[in-house]
């Protein structure tokens, strides 16, 4: 039994207060429910931060565990692996709640029955409404935030779960609210697209469940600890099937190459704050699943299949990037970009080195921040100009300077340019891949590394081209009076951009716990290469002047240097 309830509270407060949020919205209006939801999520994030600080202090894992059912214990576990995921999910959810206000009011009013189309977008909330219209907006804002809170909790619970059944329950719990969010508040053929999104990810989840159950039956329990301890009991022929199920099921969530059918539609047509959660936060949970359920629980089988994951990642990187170049819709570019970025994560997961796997985890963090900024930029453009087709945009940098600057930081994060967090993630990830290739003397892995790192040029190309088409060039005549978005939009974007820069310069915040944990995970598996260790500077002995010469074979004269 746990003595403290931080994580339990952090997980369930949003769920319990979701119905309350609905009534708050209905009674008191959009502003109140926004800040209510923000408050709920901020408190939960704070509750998460307390044990997270303990982890920073050197604690290896913080676990809360409760008696549950014949499936085992219901636990919530914060360790080096779940920390970055949990942290990013809640930070994104909290800040995006504020961003949701202007965006969702605008969106709901656009969809209001009998509403005339906005003549002058960009003034969401400023138009005078009749009482009926007001209550319509309030009702929907309440509903939106109720679903939003439930969605947040589902994602959060998934990454803290300590039991495969619990994992599955949360995994599905996050799907249901997101389905409704797309179906109610999306664009285009939103019901159809929501159904497709639900269908594919649910099929993936069921395939995953089969694997999880099989694992549990052979290992004699469904708790992670039990399975990890008894992984050797799983027969070889079943193991292959289990891994296939895990990878395929989670691959759908990740939208890896060939399983990405649903993603471009769902991400492009979801309301933008939800896109900014779906893409950076939700699909990356697939990567978390692979790390936790496969790499950690069935570590022994990892090396056997790592190369295939690596290859699949490469295909996803290139394919997503290439397709992103073909798009005219901003949100579709970003959707394909997410596919490509998930490719990077897979690429790192298949690297067979601690550095690479650490980098892949960091990529989740960095993609979360960078892609959220870019989706928010897309939302800001939609709010202010009423279109998201890049052929109709251009030259907006002068009109929307804050959006442009912050979007550029987001773009750099995705491109992996220092000093954003993107670089820290990408270099560790690619370095891990090359380390394995060089260590094994494997030309195939070397070639894969080459193509993979050249994929970053492709990433830069589609991102820069997108920025160019939105913000540079001539301003179309009808955009002459576009204004900067409200502080609700720009300030929240700026928060993520700032975080990206902070992690980029001081990556230890996430890098240290992750690398320690991954190092520990593979401690007994020498095939997975550890982080290379430097010999460091040879400190000069007392009295001698310079230390460098000691290592030199060529004639070196000591003295005179200092």
């Amino acid at each position: 039994m746990a003595e403290s309830f931080f994580l339990l509270a952090a997980t369930f407060i949003p769920l319990l207060l979701a119905p309350v949020a609905y009534f708050v919205g209905k009674k008191s209006g959009a502003g109140t429910v926004t800040w209510f939801s923000f408050g709920v999520l901020a408190v939960s994030t704070g509750l998460l931060a307390l044990p997270a600080l303990a982890l920073q202090g050197g604690m290896s894992a913080y676990v809360e565990s409760y008696q549950w059912s014949q499936f085992g214990n219901f636990g919530l576990r914060l360790d080096g692996l779940s920390l970055p995921f949990a942290m990013i999910i809640y930070i994104l959810c909290t800040v995006l709640a504020i961003y949701s206000k202007p965006y969702m009011i605008h969106k709901i009013m656009e969809d209001m029955p009998g509403a005339s189309r906005h003549e002058n977008p960009g003034h969401g909330g400023q138009v005078t409404l009749t009482a009926d219209q007001q209550s319509y907006v309030n009702h929907h804002m309440g509903l939106y935030f109720a679903l939003y809170l439930a969605f947040s909790m589902g994602m959060f619970g998934t990454v803290l779960a300590t039991n495969v059944i619990e994992f599955y329950v949360f995994f599905e719990l996050m799907l249901v609210p997101s389905f409704f969010l797309v179906a109610f508040y999306g664009y285009g053929a939103r019901r159809r697209i929501a159904l497709m999104f639900f269908f594919w990810t649910h099929v993936g989840a069921v395939v995953l469940l089969l694997s999880l159950l099989t694992m549990g039956f052979f290992a004699g329990g469904f708790d992670f600890d039990t399975i990890r301890a008894n992984a050797h009991l799983i027969p070889q022929e079943w193991l292959a099937l289990i891994i296939f199920g895990l990878v395929a099921g989670l691959g759908v969530k990740l939208a890896a190459f060939l399983l990405h059918i649903w993603l471009p539609y769902a991400h492009a047509e979801a309301p933008t704050p939800v896109s900014a959660l779906l893409s950076p936060a939700m699909i990356g949970i697939g990567a978390y699943g692979l790390l936790r359920l496969w790499l950690e629980l069935l570590t022994g089988s990892y090396e056997q299949y790592s190369l295939y994951i690596n290859m699949w990642g490469l295909a996803t990187i290139i394919y997503g990037g290439a397709m992103a170049l073909m798009q005219d819709d901003i949100k579709k570019v970003l959707a394909y970009s997410s596919i490509s970025q998930m490719g990077y994560i897979l690429f790192g997961l298949g690297s067979e080195s601690v550095l690479g796997i650490t980098g892949a985890t960091m990529l989740y963090v960095t993609h979360g921040l960078g892609k959220a900024v870019l989706f928010m930029m897309a939302g800001s453009i939609i709010l202010q100009t009423g279109t998201r087709s890049m052929s109709k945009l251009g030259g907006l940098a002068g009109k929307m300077p804050y959006t442009a600057v912050i979007a550029m930081i987001g773009a750099l994060t995705i491109m992996g340019v220092p000093p954003t967090s993107g670089f820290m993630a990408e270099w560790t990830m690619f370095n891990g891949v090359l380390q394995t290739a060089a260590n094994d003397g494997d030309w195939f892995r070397s070639a894969m590394f080459g193509f993979g790192i050249m994929g970053t040029i492709l990433t830069s190309a589609y991102i820069l081209w997108m920025i160019k088409r939105i913000f540079f060039g001539k301003i179309p005549e009808e955009m002459a009076h576009v204004k900067e978005a409200s502080p609700y939009v720009t300030a929240t974007m700026a928060a993520f951009a700032a975080l990206s820069l902070i992690i980029g310069v001081y990556p230890d915040l996430f890098l240290a716990p992750v690398s320690d944990y991954v190092q520990g995970m593979f401690a007994d598996y020498p095939g997975v290469l550890p982080i290379p260790e430097g010999s460091g500077l040879i400190e000069p002995a007392e009295g001698s002047s310079v230390g460098l010469e000691e290592g030199l074979s060529v004639g070196a004269e000591a003295g005179g240097n200092h």
């Binding site: 340019v417 590394f449 050249m454």
Partner: protein, 677 residues
């Protein structure tokens, strides 16, 4: 000795100050516009002053190395390393940048987006200083991408893509590719092409890290076990060449040279910064930084690396010099010339590693870097003054400006003479001569071809330099000048805030030139000590017999001759105007050569077909026939299959009682028969 942060605060401030300035510029701009301008220049000056405090350290042959903890998870430290190499470079960068910042006060006066301009100029300087002063490759890479980002932003500074900000002749196509470019396009091109180099550099860094577990220059030198392990796997030279790939991209060497010409879309002050002090010099500096390390490892056969460097430099020097001969735009002539001169530097740094006297080639390459930084910054700023006055980038729109802009003329002429290598009194002569001598004395088996290439390039350099001066300042006024005078513009000299900075640099290049051999000797002495003490590199053999002023006779003769031939030709065609260059167009052979050069050897064409249009066509094919057809077809196909199946099942639900009874009866019959069997 590793010093504490605060003991080496002057070193840290060199790169921190420009970044700090960039960070506060937007805030200051909210208050006062003019305060913003002066504070930006002030931060550049403060950084330069901080760099200057290190000069005594360099002259004494000492160094400052300071580290702080950074990424504890990977056991990486952040640090600065001010050794003589870095100190000379950081001062060069800081002071030239400062002069360019001053010049910007005049050149950019009245631009609406000055806040952005100052931000990125300071960011640019800070990033460059980070490259120069860092003690490890990872931080160098931070600066490396920083200059890439700043150049992207500044090349595309005029992001509205107005026609007057383009570069290239409108309507000029080569092999179906437009050869005139918008600023934002040029910025993107620069970023992506240098990214290709950066990727190689990263790969090189990663290889070294995988074996050494560190990025620190000092650490890499201290324990060379990594190098032995890599050499055993035949990875040492590839890693070095990959690192050099980064330099190829940043310094616009063949085959990644094409971005440099379009980079001319930025404001001229930016071009001056890119070409003289930052960006393209970063590549040369990197080679100067890692060169001694790999030379110290020459027991492990690192010679091939230096051969690659030398030949890349020679090819680039030749390639771009030929293209400079025919360019009609003044800034592009200077851009070609930069690439070409950097080729010289690479050649020198490369040949150093193959020869017995590493210090000679090293000094020559670095001396040329210094003298080029001075005269090229001066030339660019002078060209900017001309552009500012005549509002055209084409030299055919200039002509006869000598008497209208006497100061600009005089200073540009001095700097141009230095670029052309006018004997004995220009820094360009001495540094180029040092390179010739280093090549000749290297003892490298292929030294002769390299030497001949270098001399041919020198001839072309003198020619295109005189061509540029002649077309701009001599002859009669062009139609364009007459037209703008007619419109009421007064063609006149630029203000002191503009001519003083490039005047200072032009005079400096002459001062260094007049004392050339002494200066070179001092530099040689400094590097000899530095390389000896830090890397254990010593002169292996006494230098070859030198005569008058420590010159190598063959090299000196070649320098004199190359300048004489090139300058004479340029004089006849463009200054005295005794012969008409239009004659080229009348002969089919010369015209063919002219077209080939004018179309930039069709390299740009190949780049676009192979790197942009080709891949895009493939992607479009995949998009249309795979993603949009097959992948997107899966959902409708499912739906169709379900509908079909439901129709099939529905067909049995006829609603006719007789049918149901009949089927029911048949079923009973079958069951009974099964039971009986």
């Amino acid at each position: 000795m590793v010093t504490e942060f605060f003991d080496a605060i002057n070193v840290w401030l060199i790169w921190i100050l420009p970044f700090a300035g960039a960070a506060i510029i937007p805030a200051i701009a909210k208050g006062s516009k003019s305060a913003r301008n002066y504070i930006a220049v002030g931060f550049a000056l403060a950084s330069a002053a901080s760099a200057a405090t290190l000069i005594p350290t360099a002259l004494a042959g000492h160094e400052v190395h300071s580290q702080v903890s950074w990424i504890s998870a990977l056991d990486l430290k952040a640090g600065v390393l001010a050794d003589p190499l870095a100190i000379i470079m950081t001062n060069l960068v800081a002071w030239i940048s400062f002069l360019i910042m001053v010049y910007s006060l005049g050149y950019m006066h009245g631009d609406r987006d000055l806040t952005r301009y100052w931000f990125f100029m300071l960011f640019f300087i800070g990033s460059m200083q980070l490259i120069v002063i860092s003690d490890n490759l990872l931080m160098v890479f931070f600066g490396w991408e920083g200059v890439g980002l700043a150049s992207y932003a500044l090349i595309g500074f005029w992001y509205h893509d107005r026609k007057k900000d383009y570069v290239g002749v409108e309507g000029h196509r080569a092999g179906g590719i437009a050869m005139w470019t918008a600023p934002t396009h040029a910025g993107m091109k620069a970023f992506l092409m240098t990214k290709a180099g950066d990727v190689m550099m990263l790969a090189g860094m990663f290889l070294i890290f995988a074996y050494a577990g560190t990025f620190g220059f000092k650490e890499l030198l201290a324990d060379q076990g990594w190098a032995q392990a890599m050499a055993a796997e035949n990875l040492l030279v590839p890693a070095a060449v990959l690192l050099f790939g980064g330099a190829v991209g940043k310094s616009a060497q063949f085959p990644l040279n094409e971005w440099l010409l379009e980079a001319m879309t930025g404001p001229t002050s930016v071009s001056a910064l890119i070409h003289a002090a930052t960006m393209v010099k970063a590549g040369v500096f990197l080679v100067a930084r890692i060169g001694p390390l790999f030379f110290a490892l020459s027991a492990l056969n690192t010679g091939q690396f230096f051969e690659v460097v030398a030949w890349t430099g020679a090819i680039t020097a030749f390639l771009l010099a030929t293209q400079a001969l025919v360019s009609p735009e003044i800034k592009k002539v200077l851009a070609y010339s930069t690439g070409s001169q950097i080729g010289y530097m690479m050649m020198a740094l490369g040949i150093a590693g193959i020869s017995l006297n590493y210090v000679d080639g090293y000094t020559a390459g670095f001396f040329h870097l210094m003298s080029h930084a001075m005269f090229k910054a001066s030339l660019f700023m002078g060209a900017g003054a001309v552009l500012h006055t005549v509002h055209s980038r084409f030299m055919t729109d200039m002509g006869g400006l000598k008497k209208y802009m006497p100061k600009t003329y005089m200073f540009m002429l001095l700097a141009a003479l230095s670029l052309a290598g006018a004997p004995l009194f220009t820094s360009g002569f001495w540094s180029k001569d040092a390179i010739f001598a280093a090549v000749l004395e290297s003892g490298y088996s292929q030294a002769m071809p390299l030497f001949i290439m270098a001399v041919v390039v020198a001839v072309m350099t003198a020619f295109y330099t005189f061509r540029m001066i002649g077309m701009t300042f001599f002859g009669g006024k062009s139609k364009h000048v007459e037209k703008i005078e007619h419109e009421g513009h007064h063609v006149h000299e630029v203000g002191a805030v503009m001519w003083v900075p490039f005047g200072i640099l032009a005079v400096a290049t002459i001062i260094v030139g007049v004392s050339g051999f002494l200066f070179e000797e001092q530099l040689h002495h400094l590097f000899e000590e530095y390389l000896g003490e830090s890397f254990g590199i010593h002169e292996a053999a006494p230098a070859t017999e030198r005569v008058f002023l420590n010159l190598n006779p063959v090299a000196a003769a070649a320098s004199f001759g190359a300048f004489g031939v090139g300058a004479a030709l340029g004089y006849v065609f463009y200054i005295a105007r005794k012969a008409d260059p239009a004659a080229i167009g009348r002969n089919i052979v010369t015209r063919g050569i002219w077209t080939f050069l004018y179309n930039r050897w069709y390299l740009n064409t190949a780049l676009y077909w192979g790197g942009v249009i080709g891949p895009m066509a493939i992607y479009r094919f995949i998009w249309r026939y795979f993603e949009s057809t097959i992948i997107d077809g899966i959902n409708p196909a499912f739906q169709g299959a379900m509908t079909y199946m439901s129709r099939w099942v529905k067909g049995s639900q006829t609603g006719i009682t007789q049918t149901y009874l009949f089927v029911f009866g048949a079923g009973i019959l079958i069951v009974v028969m099964l039971l009986l069997l």
